[in-house]
């Protein structure tokens, strides 16, 4: 549906898809941070619109959401934020259904999707919206040309998986392990199992939940992923910067370096050389 997202996965390179919470720890710094991860090699950026009850989130992203909300982030400001960003890669909005549902004068998802499309958002990920409840949002996304990206969990199997695959657009978000978001020190066996279950479908598979290092990224891409999604490992850098009051540029540099590590890991996993070394 979104040509920009399709183009990323047609390039033949594994996609690096970082996540940050918009407005964390404040509007201006967050703009710098998102632009830094693009410089670090992001192919698509998932940008969180903070919701007060983020039930799929571990403590790292919960804290980021609190920082952003306390700094004044709202859905309206989020769209301004997206419009202020100077990035070329496609942006995917990650948020919870109530914010989508309440936006605009009438309840229902249409007004939100219309505004998101106008701001240049290419897709949506909504962790508390399973396929069962997604028809109204899917219709709005179809109308305005956005991808509605579904999450395939380690528990998504059999008929359920098949039904979901009929409706996929953009890419599928392969949840690497059960539980909530948060950086981990290992790669879960559930990742390999999920990728194996999905092998017969040609749709691009981006793996997220727990990826922390370039080595993880390499390992997951070599296991068959078409992309990696990394949130908490980057948000941790934002959190450290906010805790120790570091200058915005210093934090942005660290984010860019971490992004490059992850992107290079992903490239290595596909048997490709890191971007800088291709002279």
């Amino acid at each position: 549906m979104s040509d920009a997202v399709d183009a990323v996965f047609e390039s033949g390179e594994p996609a690096f898809i970082p996540y940050l919470v918009a407005g964390d720890p404040d509007y201006e710094a967050s703009i710098e941070y998102v632009e830094a991860i693009e410089r670090g090699g992001a192919d698509v950026i998932e940008l969180g619109l903070p919701f007060s009850e983020p039930i799929a989130e571990g403590s790292t992203i919960q804290d980021a959401i609190v920082r952003s909300l306390e700094a004044g982030m709202t859905p309206e400001q989020y769209f301004d934020f997206v419009e202020d960003l100077d990035v070329d890669v496609p942006l995917v909005c990650m948020t919870y259904y109530n914010l989508i549902y309440q936006y605009g004068p009438d309840q229902g998802p249409r007004a939100f999707v219309e505004r998101a499309a106008a701001a240049g958002i290419a897709g949506l990920v909504v962790p508390d919206l399973p396929a069962e409840e997604a028809d109204p949002l899917r219709a709005a996304c179809d109308e305005f040309g956005l991808d509605l990206i579904f999450i395939v969990a380690p528990t998504t199997k059999g008929e359920r998986l098949e039904r979901m695959m009929e409706h996929v657009s953009g890419y599928v978000y392969v949840q690497a392990r059960l539980g909530t978001t948060g950086a981990r020190d290992d790669v879960s066996d559930q990742t390999d199992e999920s990728l194996a279950r999905l092998a017969e479908w040609s749709v691009p598979k981006a793996v997220g939940f727990g990826i922390k290092t370039g080595d993880h990224a390499e390992r997951i891409v070599s296991a068959g992923a078409d992309g990696i999604i990394v949130g908490s490992a980057l948000v941790d850098i934002v959190a450290d910067g906010a805790d120790s009051d570091d200058p915005t540029e210093a934090v942005a540099d660290r984010l860019e370096a971490k992004a490059r590590e992850l992107k290079d890991g992903a490239l290595a996993g596909a048997g490709l050389a890191a971007a800088e070394s291709v002279e």
């Binding site: 007060s52 039930i55 309440q102 919206l129 579904f150 969990a153 528990t155 998504t156 539980g179």
Partner: protein, 430 residues
Amino acid sequence: MSTDSDGKFGAYGGQYVPEALMPAIEELRDAYERYVLENEDGFMDEFRERLADFGGRPTPLQHAEQLSERYDTAVYLKREDLLHGGAHKLNNALGQVLLAKYMGKERIIAETGAGQHGTATAMAAAHLDMPCEIFMGSTDITRQRPNVFRMRLNGAEVNPVTTGRGTLKEAISETMRDWATNVEDTHYVIGSIVGPDPFPRMVRDFQSVIGREAREQIKAKTGRLPDSVVACAGGGSNTMGAFHEFVDSADPSSADKSSGQHPRDRVDLIAVEAGGSSLDVDEKAGVAPNSATLSTGEEGVLHGARTKLLQDSDGQIMESHSVSAGLDYSGVGPELAHLVDSGRVDAVNVDDEAALEAFHRLSRLEGIIPALESAHAFGYLEENPEEVGDVTVVNLSGRGDKDLETVVEETEKRDLDVDVDMSVFREAER
């Protein structure tokens, strides 16, 4: 038993949960339909037997003589405070823990606000030999200490939840996170008629024993149905438990005019919410100093269901407030929201002060110390005795032992004229 087999109540209800939980929810729906609705393997027989032997059902329906005289109307109390554990919560907790056992689950988790549901779940889990972990907001741990002791004594882990205001909303979010992590061997015993389908109708079915008994009991005592049933509402489980059997009742016997007994064509159902300190809302601070979701909330999606919510105009969920931990929640059960919209249930509210006064009044006049949650129902009776008709059933959802310290403190703070002098402690120390 249910007419809502798609899990929707009008526009409300549904299953708004992470994909990782959906297979478990499908499994639960299947188990609910087989064991609870179809009584497969004699599940319901075993449940009823355990509710009687372990729980102490049926609970009495008591004529409250002093209140009846005070309000010049026949007031009957459905004594859920006498159920094992001291609240209606065991009806649901025992049902769900037993169901988890039938489903082959190995671990029980639950959230709790007042600690009554956590306590009931811990008791049921000990009784049925299942390991159990309870998530409880840090604010609630402090204000409902006796229940924390009880849960620990029954062998449950108690995990403090420190996010947000540390009350029921945060506890539910955190329990959902645990469930999403351990869904393969764990059952989440939700404590009210909230959450994704099938929880709202399943919890209601387990709780509907309250109204079923009350209906028989009031007929035996008065020969008629009541004019009204009054119950407090947090999530709404004691509420729907008390109401369910009366929702459809145009009293069949009232068609028989010769009895001439029943002046109304239906039983009025009155849900009493916590008005907190005020019904006003501070959008900027994200705080609603009340929990009057049915009266003031707007439709939205939270904790797995579409329902009425306390939220700001962007859709961010507001922090609620009530002196009573069990009512202190920004959401409400989807079925109750639907019945309010359709006009079948009246949503009213009673503020902190009126609830505290009612707590003292019931303690003195009837010799029954009610839970602060239940006290809201009696606050309504005091303020609106003319609304309940000639015969009313008030659901006394729980007893107040857990609230003693809070009540003494909050009463002193407000300088209410019902204040009880507790200087005896100081005298004894001298």
